[in-house]
Symmetry: C2
Subunit: 196 residues, 2 copies
């Protein structure tokens, strides 16, 4: 069975389940929501409140055949790999670009799910003066960090183990406060890291 490029099976409802038995027993704040949903809800909050304008890029799909007799129904198409990151937008005039990932590992964030294209894209963002980072969720700890893309690029290109130790997030990352609305105060972390 061939899956979605990121290795996960695509769920058409976009409500990806991340609850596991481990999560339920460990995380008291478990809301049964995916990191993606949390970011989208938070971005909506930031947009409505005129704080920042961040959008998730649509998943690129290669459309092969459309049936116009059925109201422009797409009947043959395939997912394509995102060559950029999933999110971008603007905050205080600056260009913002980031990717979000989670891990069940307690000790490190594996870089296997990051593509070479994404790394090249993020290098270019930095080169053009944009703000580039990752939002990484350590599910077991129930901690979410903003880590500047430069660290991810460094470990991707020079790391031996192709993973970033959890300690790097503790020392170099900004811990993102979690709440109800927004669920993730990720712009607070952007403000702290890049505007102070």
């Amino acid at each position: 069975m061939i899956n979605y490029p990121n290795g996960k099976k695509y769920t058409p409802t976009a409500k990806k389940e991340r609850k596991t038995k481990a999560d339920i027993s460990i995380s008291s704040a478990n809301r049964g929501m995916s990191l993606e949903e949390d970011i989208n809800q938070s971005s909506e909050y930031y947009s409505v409140n005129n704080i920042a304008l961040i959008h998730k890029r649509p998943t690129p799909i290669n459309v092969v055949k459309v049936d116009y007799s059925k109201g422009a129904k797409i009947v043959d198409a395939y997912f394509e790999k995102q060559s950029t990151t999933d999110y971008n937008g603007v905050y205080k005039g600056r260009y913002i670009d980031f990717e979000a990932k989670n891990t069940k590992s307690k000790t490190s964030f594996p870089l296997a799910n990051i593509s070479k294209h994404q790394i090249e894209h993020l290098k270019r963002v930095i080169q053009h003066g944009g703000i580039a980072f990752f939002i990484i969720e350590f599910q077991i700890q129930n901690e979410i960090y903003l880590l500047d893309a430069s660290f991810v690029i460094h470990y991707y290109e020079h790391g031996e183990r192709k993973s970033i130790p959890y300690e790097v997030f503790k020392t170099e990352g900004i811990k993102i406060k979690q709440g109800y609305n927004p669920r993730l105060y990720y712009i607070d972390a952007v403000e702290e890291k890049y505007f102070k």
Copy 2:
């Protein structure tokens, strides 16, 4: 027959034909390329040459059903309306956001193809200090202009005829130089309008 949200039939190959008999007889520089292809080619040039990083947002598609027995083939899906613009990215650290349209009218650019959502999106971009504009091609004249989004917003909300006179482009827009590589020197126009 229901068509693609923008009123045009979707061509799966992404090579949209814009050549008409009128074009062929009028435009000596006709290259049989669509404005979208020209922008994509130019963005690629700007990216490779480290001048700017601009991407076209993928068309949002609502995936209803995926057949995993056939290699993750999408068998039921529908096009969704783009709630933002088609292009965004970064130039000199600033956030760039724009929409591209063409018209066969000689005298004005009709706003019928611009959605309320896109206008709201562009207002927010400006509010957050981003650079927002339209790239409009007058096909008969074979002229392409950058026009700041504020003009489009103004005519959209206050114009009686729901169109922007060609003269406004001549006086308030920046004419985009056309060439071979890049096909459209649209970043030159951005530089002239926003960085001088």
